[in-house]
Protein backbone atom coordinates (compact mmCIF):
# COMPACT_ATOMS: atom_id res chain seq x y z
CA UNK A 1 0.00 0.00 0.00
CA UNK A 2 2.78 2.33 0.97
CA UNK A 3 4.67 1.59 -2.25
CA UNK A 4 1.53 2.37 -4.20
CA UNK A 5 1.27 5.81 -2.62
CA UNK A 6 4.87 6.61 -3.44
CA UNK A 7 4.44 5.48 -7.02
CA UNK A 8 1.36 7.69 -7.30
CA UNK A 9 3.29 10.61 -5.87
CA UNK A 10 6.05 10.25 -8.44
CA UNK A 11 3.55 9.99 -11.24
CA UNK A 12 1.86 13.24 -10.26
CA UNK A 13 5.23 14.99 -10.01
CA UNK A 14 6.08 13.87 -13.49
CA UNK A 15 2.77 14.99 -14.92
CA UNK A 16 3.04 18.40 -13.30
CA UNK A 17 6.61 18.93 -14.56
CA UNK A 18 5.57 17.83 -17.99
CA UNK A 19 2.72 20.33 -17.99
CA UNK A 20 5.13 23.09 -17.04
CA UNK A 21 7.64 22.07 -19.67
CA UNK A 22 4.89 22.49 -22.21
CA UNK A 23 4.78 26.17 -21.33
CA UNK A 24 1.94 27.59 -23.35
CA UNK A 25 0.12 24.28 -23.11
CA UNK A 26 -0.26 24.84 -19.37
CA UNK A 27 -3.86 25.95 -19.15
CA UNK A 28 -3.67 26.90 -15.50
CA UNK A 29 -4.55 30.49 -14.68
CA UNK A 30 -4.11 32.48 -11.52
CA UNK A 31 -7.19 34.34 -10.32
CA UNK A 32 -5.09 37.42 -10.99
CA UNK A 33 -5.54 36.86 -14.72
CA UNK A 34 -9.32 36.91 -14.33
CA UNK A 35 -9.35 40.30 -12.58
CA UNK A 36 -9.90 43.65 -14.24
CA UNK A 37 -6.96 45.92 -14.96
CA UNK A 38 -7.71 48.21 -12.02
CA UNK A 39 -7.43 45.38 -9.50
CA UNK A 40 -4.33 43.94 -11.17
CA UNK A 41 -2.71 47.36 -10.81
CA UNK A 42 -3.78 47.53 -7.17
CA UNK A 43 -2.01 44.23 -6.49
CA UNK A 44 1.10 45.09 -8.51
CA UNK A 45 1.77 48.45 -6.88
CA UNK A 46 3.26 47.85 -3.43
CA UNK A 47 2.44 51.41 -2.45
CA UNK A 48 -1.25 50.84 -3.27
CA UNK A 49 -1.72 47.15 -2.38
CA UNK A 50 -3.55 47.16 0.97
CA UNK A 51 -2.01 43.77 1.77
CA UNK A 52 1.32 45.56 2.12
CA UNK A 53 0.03 47.26 5.29
CA UNK A 54 -0.07 43.80 6.84
CA UNK A 55 3.33 42.80 5.45
CA UNK A 56 4.72 45.86 7.22
CA UNK A 57 2.93 44.94 10.46
CA UNK A 58 4.24 41.39 10.11
CA UNK A 59 7.78 42.61 9.71
CA UNK A 60 7.47 44.55 12.96
CA UNK A 61 5.96 41.56 14.77
CA UNK A 62 8.68 39.30 13.41
CA UNK A 63 11.28 41.36 15.24
CA UNK A 64 9.36 41.68 18.49
CA UNK A 65 10.17 39.33 21.41
CA UNK A 66 7.24 37.25 22.64
CA UNK A 67 6.38 34.53 25.15
CA UNK A 68 8.12 33.15 28.20
CA UNK A 69 11.29 32.64 26.13
CA UNK A 70 11.27 36.35 25.30
CA UNK A 71 12.54 35.56 21.82
CA UNK A 72 11.51 37.11 18.54
CA UNK A 73 11.13 35.24 15.25
CA UNK A 74 14.12 37.24 14.00
CA UNK A 75 16.30 35.90 16.82
CA UNK A 76 16.27 32.52 15.07
CA UNK A 77 15.40 33.45 11.49
CA UNK A 78 17.68 36.05 9.92
CA UNK A 79 16.57 38.66 7.43
CA UNK A 80 15.25 37.14 4.23
CA UNK A 81 15.52 33.61 5.62
CA UNK A 82 11.83 32.93 5.02
CA UNK A 83 12.32 32.99 1.26
CA UNK A 84 10.70 29.94 -0.33
CA UNK A 85 9.00 28.79 2.88
CA UNK A 86 5.47 29.78 1.83
CA UNK A 87 6.00 28.05 -1.52
CA UNK A 88 6.38 24.63 0.14
CA UNK A 89 3.76 24.67 2.90
CA UNK A 90 1.71 22.76 4.06
CA UNK A 91 4.45 20.36 5.12
CA UNK A 92 5.28 17.95 7.94
CA UNK A 93 7.52 19.74 10.43
CA UNK A 94 10.58 18.01 11.84
CA UNK A 95 9.70 15.47 14.54
CA UNK A 96 6.01 15.66 13.65
CA UNK A 97 3.84 13.13 11.87
CA UNK A 98 1.11 15.23 10.34
CA UNK A 99 1.17 18.24 8.05
CA UNK A 100 0.54 21.82 9.13
CA UNK A 101 -0.04 24.86 6.97
CA UNK A 102 1.91 28.09 7.21
CA UNK A 103 -0.35 29.49 9.94
CA UNK A 104 0.01 26.24 11.86
CA UNK A 105 3.77 26.40 11.45
CA UNK A 106 3.91 29.95 12.78
CA UNK A 107 1.88 28.92 15.80
CA UNK A 108 4.11 25.86 16.38
CA UNK A 109 7.07 28.22 16.51
CA UNK A 110 5.22 30.40 18.97
CA UNK A 111 4.25 27.62 21.35
CA UNK A 112 7.43 25.51 21.10
CA UNK A 113 10.16 28.11 20.72
CA UNK A 114 8.77 31.38 22.04
CA UNK A 115 6.64 29.57 24.64
CA UNK A 116 3.79 31.94 23.84
CA UNK A 117 0.07 31.40 23.31
CA UNK A 118 -0.87 30.47 19.75
CA UNK A 119 -2.34 33.32 17.73
CA UNK A 120 -6.07 33.10 17.05
CA UNK A 121 -7.21 32.02 13.57
CA UNK A 122 -7.65 35.02 11.25
CA UNK A 123 -6.29 37.38 13.90
CA UNK A 124 -4.50 40.39 12.54
CA UNK A 125 -1.19 39.30 14.11
CA UNK A 126 -1.27 35.82 12.63
CA UNK A 127 -2.26 37.09 9.18
CA UNK A 128 0.39 39.81 9.30
CA UNK A 129 3.15 37.35 10.20
CA UNK A 130 1.92 35.03 7.48
CA UNK A 131 1.82 37.90 4.97
CA UNK A 132 5.38 38.91 5.87
CA UNK A 133 6.63 35.33 5.47
CA UNK A 134 4.65 34.72 2.26
CA UNK A 135 5.81 38.03 0.77
CA UNK A 136 9.38 36.72 0.84
CA UNK A 137 8.35 33.95 -1.55
CA UNK A 138 6.68 36.30 -4.01
CA UNK A 139 7.67 35.36 -7.54
CA UNK A 140 8.80 31.89 -6.53
CA UNK A 141 7.19 28.78 -8.03
CA UNK A 142 4.92 26.79 -5.75
CA UNK A 143 7.05 23.81 -4.73
CA UNK A 144 5.24 21.22 -2.60
CA UNK A 145 7.62 18.91 -0.75
CA UNK A 146 8.17 15.44 -2.19
CA UNK A 147 7.72 13.92 1.29
CA UNK A 148 5.85 10.65 0.59
CA UNK A 149 4.10 10.88 3.96
CA UNK A 150 2.05 13.75 2.50
CA UNK A 151 0.43 11.57 -0.15
CA UNK A 152 -2.47 10.24 1.94
CA UNK A 153 -3.27 13.76 3.17
CA UNK A 154 -3.22 15.09 -0.38
CA UNK A 155 -5.46 12.23 -1.46
CA UNK A 156 -7.86 13.14 1.34
CA UNK A 157 -7.83 16.75 0.11
CA UNK A 158 -8.54 15.62 -3.43
CA UNK A 159 -11.44 13.54 -2.18
CA UNK A 160 -12.95 16.48 -0.26
CA UNK A 161 -12.45 18.68 -3.34
CA UNK A 162 -14.52 16.31 -5.47
CA UNK A 163 -17.11 15.47 -2.81
CA UNK A 164 -20.57 16.96 -3.21
CA UNK A 165 -21.55 18.85 -0.09
CA UNK A 166 -24.23 21.04 1.37
CA UNK A 167 -27.84 21.75 0.56
CA UNK A 168 -26.86 22.76 -2.98
CA UNK A 169 -25.12 19.37 -3.43
CA UNK A 170 -22.10 20.82 -5.28
CA UNK A 171 -18.39 20.09 -5.05
CA UNK A 172 -15.36 22.37 -5.38
CA UNK A 173 -14.51 20.54 -8.62
CA UNK A 174 -17.90 21.22 -10.22
CA UNK A 175 -17.26 24.96 -10.20
CA UNK A 176 -13.49 25.30 -10.22
CA UNK A 177 -12.55 22.41 -12.56
CA UNK A 178 -15.59 21.72 -14.72
CA UNK A 179 -16.90 25.28 -15.02
CA UNK A 180 -13.91 27.54 -14.39
CA UNK A 181 -13.94 30.56 -16.69
CA UNK A 182 -17.74 30.62 -16.91
CA UNK A 183 -19.81 33.25 -15.17
CA UNK A 184 -21.49 32.56 -11.85
CA UNK A 185 -23.85 35.51 -11.92
CA UNK A 186 -21.48 38.21 -13.16
CA UNK A 187 -18.36 36.71 -11.69
CA UNK A 188 -15.80 34.66 -13.59
CA UNK A 189 -15.22 31.39 -11.74
CA UNK A 190 -11.49 31.09 -11.07
CA UNK A 191 -9.53 27.85 -11.29
CA UNK A 192 -8.89 28.06 -7.55
CA UNK A 193 -5.11 28.10 -7.46
CA UNK A 194 -3.87 29.39 -4.09
CA UNK A 195 -1.23 31.71 -5.56
CA UNK A 196 -1.91 34.88 -3.58
CA UNK A 197 -2.54 33.92 0.06
CA UNK A 198 -2.97 35.57 2.41
CA UNK A 199 -5.16 37.73 0.14
CA UNK A 200 -6.73 41.15 0.57
CA UNK A 201 -10.26 40.31 -0.54
CA UNK A 202 -12.38 43.31 -1.40
CA UNK A 203 -15.49 41.52 -0.18
CA UNK A 204 -13.86 41.19 3.24
CA UNK A 205 -12.20 44.61 3.13
CA UNK A 206 -9.45 42.81 5.01
CA UNK A 207 -6.64 40.33 4.68
CA UNK A 208 -7.69 36.69 5.02
CA UNK A 209 -6.30 33.19 4.79
CA UNK A 210 -6.96 30.38 2.35
CA UNK A 211 -8.98 28.75 5.16
CA UNK A 212 -11.29 31.71 5.31
CA UNK A 213 -11.71 31.50 1.54
CA UNK A 214 -12.46 27.77 1.71
CA UNK A 215 -15.02 28.47 4.42
CA UNK A 216 -16.65 31.04 2.09
CA UNK A 217 -17.08 28.38 -0.55
CA UNK A 218 -18.55 25.89 1.92
CA UNK A 219 -20.98 28.52 3.16
CA UNK A 220 -21.89 29.25 -0.45
CA UNK A 221 -22.75 25.57 -0.92
CA UNK A 222 -24.82 25.79 2.27
CA UNK A 223 -22.51 23.20 3.79
CA UNK A 224 -21.36 23.14 7.40
CA UNK A 225 -17.91 24.74 7.39
CA UNK A 226 -15.18 22.79 9.22
CA UNK A 227 -13.81 24.31 12.44
CA UNK A 228 -10.78 26.52 11.87
CA UNK A 229 -8.43 23.89 13.32
CA UNK A 230 -9.89 21.00 11.30
CA UNK A 231 -7.35 18.79 9.46
CA UNK A 232 -9.64 18.88 6.41
CA UNK A 233 -8.40 22.39 5.55
CA UNK A 234 -4.76 21.31 5.66
CA UNK A 235 -5.64 18.35 3.41
CA UNK A 236 -7.41 20.65 0.95
CA UNK A 237 -4.54 23.14 1.04
CA UNK A 238 -2.06 20.32 0.33
CA UNK A 239 -4.12 19.19 -2.64
CA UNK A 240 -4.56 22.73 -3.98
CA UNK A 241 -0.87 23.59 -3.65
CA UNK A 242 0.04 20.39 -5.47
CA UNK A 243 -2.44 21.25 -8.19
CA UNK A 244 -0.81 24.69 -8.50
CA UNK A 245 2.74 23.31 -8.43
CA UNK A 246 5.10 25.51 -10.43
CA UNK A 247 2.75 28.52 -10.54
CA UNK A 248 4.25 31.69 -9.10
CA UNK A 249 3.33 33.04 -5.68
CA UNK A 250 1.86 36.57 -5.65
CA UNK A 251 1.35 37.16 -1.92
CA UNK A 252 -0.18 39.40 -0.76
CA UNK A 253 -2.73 39.02 -3.55
CA UNK A 254 -5.72 41.29 -4.15
CA UNK A 255 -8.96 39.58 -5.16
CA UNK A 256 -12.57 40.79 -5.54
Amino acid sequence: MRTAWIALGLASVFVATFALAQGAADKRRSGYQDMGEALQKMQDDDTANPGMLFVQLGEQLFGRPAGAANKSCADCHGAGSMKGVAARYPAIPKDADKPVDLEGRINLCRTANQRAEPLAPESRDLLSLEAYVAFQSRGQPIAPPSDPRLAPFRAQGAEIYRRRQGQLNLSCAICHDDNAGKKLAGVTIPQAHPTGYPIYRLEWQALGSLKRRLRNCLIGLRAEAYAYDAPEYVALELYLMDRAKGMLLEAPGVRP
Binding site: G36, M42, A120, E122, S123, A185, V187, L202, I219, G220
Partner: protein, 151 residues
Protein backbone atom coordinates in the same frame (compact mmCIF):
# COMPACT_ATOMS: atom_id res chain seq x y z
CA UNK B 1 1.07 37.69 24.12
CA UNK B 2 -1.56 36.84 21.54
CA UNK B 3 -3.65 39.66 20.26
CA UNK B 4 -7.35 38.85 19.98
CA UNK B 5 -8.81 38.64 16.52
CA UNK B 6 -9.95 42.01 15.35
CA UNK B 7 -13.62 41.30 15.65
CA UNK B 8 -14.71 44.54 14.13
CA UNK B 9 -12.48 44.15 11.11
CA UNK B 10 -13.73 40.60 10.77
CA UNK B 11 -17.36 41.60 10.92
CA UNK B 12 -16.72 44.42 8.53
CA UNK B 13 -16.08 41.78 5.94
CA UNK B 14 -18.94 39.56 6.90
CA UNK B 15 -21.71 41.58 5.34
CA UNK B 16 -21.88 43.35 2.05
CA UNK B 17 -22.74 46.90 1.24
CA UNK B 18 -25.54 45.53 -0.86
CA UNK B 19 -27.39 44.41 2.24
CA UNK B 20 -28.07 47.95 3.38
CA UNK B 21 -31.38 48.07 5.21
CA UNK B 22 -34.13 49.64 3.18
CA UNK B 23 -34.99 51.91 6.06
CA UNK B 24 -31.57 53.58 5.84
CA UNK B 25 -31.30 56.89 4.12
CA UNK B 26 -30.47 56.40 0.49
CA UNK B 27 -29.09 59.00 -1.84
CA UNK B 28 -31.03 59.59 -5.03
CA UNK B 29 -30.25 61.65 -8.11
CA UNK B 30 -32.25 64.43 -6.38
CA UNK B 31 -30.27 64.10 -3.14
CA UNK B 32 -27.07 64.21 -5.16
CA UNK B 33 -28.25 67.34 -6.96
CA UNK B 34 -29.02 68.92 -3.58
CA UNK B 35 -25.58 68.01 -2.21
CA UNK B 36 -23.94 69.48 -5.29
CA UNK B 37 -26.00 72.65 -4.91
CA UNK B 38 -24.66 73.03 -1.37
CA UNK B 39 -21.13 73.17 -2.75
CA UNK B 40 -21.76 75.12 -5.92
CA UNK B 41 -24.45 77.49 -4.70
CA UNK B 42 -25.72 79.61 -7.58
CA UNK B 43 -22.62 78.89 -9.64
CA UNK B 44 -22.85 77.26 -13.05
CA UNK B 45 -21.27 73.89 -13.64
CA UNK B 46 -19.73 73.29 -17.04
CA UNK B 47 -18.64 69.96 -18.39
CA UNK B 48 -14.99 69.68 -19.27
CA UNK B 49 -11.46 70.15 -17.93
CA UNK B 50 -12.08 67.32 -15.46
CA UNK B 51 -11.17 63.71 -16.14
CA UNK B 52 -12.75 61.07 -13.93
CA UNK B 53 -11.18 57.63 -14.16
CA UNK B 54 -13.08 54.68 -12.74
CA UNK B 55 -13.22 51.12 -14.04
CA UNK B 56 -16.53 50.88 -16.00
CA UNK B 57 -17.16 47.44 -14.51
CA UNK B 58 -16.06 46.64 -10.98
CA UNK B 59 -15.99 43.19 -9.47
CA UNK B 60 -16.74 44.39 -5.97
CA UNK B 61 -18.21 47.72 -4.90
CA UNK B 62 -16.32 47.70 -1.60
CA UNK B 63 -13.11 49.06 -3.09
CA UNK B 64 -13.36 51.00 -6.33
CA UNK B 65 -10.21 52.85 -7.47
CA UNK B 66 -10.88 56.40 -8.65
CA UNK B 67 -8.63 59.12 -10.09
CA UNK B 68 -9.64 62.72 -10.77
CA UNK B 69 -7.40 64.88 -12.95
CA UNK B 70 -8.12 68.52 -13.74
CA UNK B 71 -6.48 70.63 -16.47
CA UNK B 72 -5.00 73.58 -14.64
CA UNK B 73 -1.65 75.41 -14.54
CA UNK B 74 -1.88 75.27 -10.72
CA UNK B 75 -0.33 78.73 -10.36
CA UNK B 76 -1.21 81.19 -7.57
CA UNK B 77 -3.31 83.12 -10.11
CA UNK B 78 -5.03 80.15 -11.69
CA UNK B 79 -5.47 76.89 -9.85
CA UNK B 80 -7.95 74.29 -8.68
CA UNK B 81 -9.12 75.03 -5.13
CA UNK B 82 -11.14 71.92 -4.57
CA UNK B 83 -12.28 68.65 -6.09
CA UNK B 84 -15.59 67.23 -4.89
CA UNK B 85 -16.95 63.77 -5.70
CA UNK B 86 -20.59 62.70 -5.41
CA UNK B 87 -22.61 59.55 -6.04
CA UNK B 88 -26.29 58.99 -6.55
CA UNK B 89 -27.07 55.66 -4.84
CA UNK B 90 -24.96 55.25 -1.69
CA UNK B 91 -26.65 56.16 1.60
CA UNK B 92 -25.02 59.61 1.36
CA UNK B 93 -24.40 61.54 -1.85
CA UNK B 94 -21.07 63.06 -0.75
CA UNK B 95 -17.92 60.96 -1.23
CA UNK B 96 -15.08 63.37 -0.53
CA UNK B 97 -13.86 66.94 -0.96
CA UNK B 98 -10.17 67.57 -1.55
CA UNK B 99 -8.64 71.02 -1.00
CA UNK B 100 -5.75 71.90 -3.27
CA UNK B 101 -3.62 74.84 -4.25
CA UNK B 102 -0.56 75.92 -6.24
CA UNK B 103 1.66 73.86 -3.91
CA UNK B 104 0.27 70.70 -5.49
CA UNK B 105 1.80 71.37 -8.93
CA UNK B 106 -0.88 69.33 -10.60
CA UNK B 107 -4.51 68.75 -9.79
CA UNK B 108 -4.52 64.97 -9.78
CA UNK B 109 -5.77 62.88 -6.87
CA UNK B 110 -6.53 59.20 -6.45
CA UNK B 111 -8.38 57.27 -3.78
CA UNK B 112 -10.68 54.26 -3.42
CA UNK B 113 -14.39 54.46 -2.80
CA UNK B 114 -17.36 52.22 -1.97
CA UNK B 115 -20.31 51.88 -4.31
CA UNK B 116 -23.47 50.21 -3.02
CA UNK B 117 -24.78 49.64 -6.54
CA UNK B 118 -24.25 50.44 -10.18
CA UNK B 119 -24.56 54.20 -10.48
CA UNK B 120 -23.34 57.53 -11.75
CA UNK B 121 -20.39 59.28 -10.11
CA UNK B 122 -19.83 63.01 -10.52
CA UNK B 123 -16.59 64.92 -9.94
CA UNK B 124 -16.65 68.72 -9.69
CA UNK B 125 -13.58 70.95 -9.71
CA UNK B 126 -13.75 74.43 -8.21
CA UNK B 127 -11.16 76.88 -9.57
CA UNK B 128 -9.52 79.91 -7.97
CA UNK B 129 -11.63 82.13 -10.22
CA UNK B 130 -14.82 80.58 -8.86
CA UNK B 131 -15.65 78.47 -11.90
CA UNK B 132 -16.99 74.92 -11.64
CA UNK B 133 -16.07 72.16 -14.07
CA UNK B 134 -17.32 68.62 -13.98
CA UNK B 135 -17.15 65.10 -15.36
CA UNK B 136 -19.25 62.06 -14.67
CA UNK B 137 -18.89 58.33 -15.12
CA UNK B 138 -21.23 55.37 -14.96
CA UNK B 139 -19.97 52.39 -13.03
CA UNK B 140 -21.47 48.94 -13.14
CA UNK B 141 -20.98 46.96 -9.95
CA UNK B 142 -21.05 43.21 -10.45
CA UNK B 143 -23.14 41.46 -7.84
CA UNK B 144 -21.17 39.16 -5.62
CA UNK B 145 -22.13 35.53 -6.10
CA UNK B 146 -20.48 33.65 -3.25
CA UNK B 147 -20.65 35.76 -0.14
CA UNK B 148 -19.66 34.99 3.40
CA UNK B 149 -22.80 36.37 4.97
CA UNK B 150 -24.68 33.56 6.71
CA UNK B 151 -28.33 34.10 7.43
Amino acid sequence: MPSPPDRRAFLAGAALLTVLPLSAARATPDAMAAAIKEVVGEGTIREGKVKLDLPPLVENGNVVPLTVSVESPMTPADHVKAIHVFNEKNPQPHVFSARLGPRNGKAVIATRIKLADSQKIVAIAETSSGAFWSASADVIVTLAACIEDVT
